[in-house]
Symmetry: C2
Subunit: 133 residues, 2 copies
DNA sequence: CTTGACCTTCCCACGTTGGCAAGGTCTACA
DNA sequence: TGTAGACCTTGCCAACGTGGGAAGGTCAAG
């Protein structure tokens, strides 16, 4: 039994976010003391840590809702978990490729930029002309 | 001389975004017809294309504001352009590394997940236990 | 003159997090 | 007992960039 600040410290999820997760029904509404303070058990902290870990792996809160349901479902099919994870990997890899494309282009352009007091710069030229498209 | 729809089509920037860029002073307010319609020149479309290209390279609108100022400044120092670009490359690479970490972890976990009807799954176990932290 | 395609402004939504304000509660200490 | 300070509560605003839609005005073609 602890209140929200302690649960936040124990789980790595800020008090602010715990309230937010409750407001969007990712978490069941916490029980309250007579004064209206939320209180949490070690089991609740366990759930918060699960969420925290899933956030660290880049899952959206929507994904985490599904993962939590599967986590709680002792009869789950591991295929469902795997599907969510692999879809996320695909999305991550698409994003990675996109960012790599940007970084590669910019690095190449910057390499040929004098980087001195002269105005001439291939980066500006590229932006101006559209990279030859 | 064209109105916003045509400028949008010609530049690849949506009419919605053109208005938004104007509202945040990234663009000067467009001239208007007597009826209040914005109108644009080929030169304006040129600016819009610059912005579009910079967005495609992942620059923030704040960055683009600086780049536009440099673009217009015939006396610019290419060092200023290069600095903005390289700072952006650093940010991109940091993000790439972060996403690669997530994707790598998940791919490794998913490899050992049967992906069948059994509930047992290392992905769930990892989320539960926190990846050994 | 009507129809439909365009334009205008304004508000709302997404997703996740932080910050701040105004107020209530609890705890420890004088 | 009083009070200070640390905690809790709710609520609103901000970010970032984009899209959607409503309600209404304008324009061109038939």
């Amino acid at each position: 039994m602890m209140n929200i600040g302690k649960a936040a410290a124990a789980s790595g999820v800020s008090a602010k976010m715990i309230r937010y997760y409750e407001s969007i029904d990712l978490l069941a509404a916490a029980r309250r003391t007579e004064a209206g303070y939320r209180f949490y058990t070690d089991e609740d902290v366990h759930v918060l840590r699960f969420i925290r870990r899933a956030r660290d792996l880049g899952f959206s809160l929507a994904d985490i809702g599904e993962l939590l349901a599967l986590w709680r479902d002792q009869g789950r099919a591991s295929a469902d978990v795997k599907r969510i994870a692999l879809e996320h990997v695909v999305a991550l890899e698409r994003k990675i490729a996109e960012l790599q494309g940007m970084a590669g282009t910019l690095r190449a352009l910057a390499e040929h930029c004098h980087g001195d007091t002269r105005p001439d710069c291939p980066i500006i030229t590229d932006l101006d002309a559209g990279g030859g498209r």
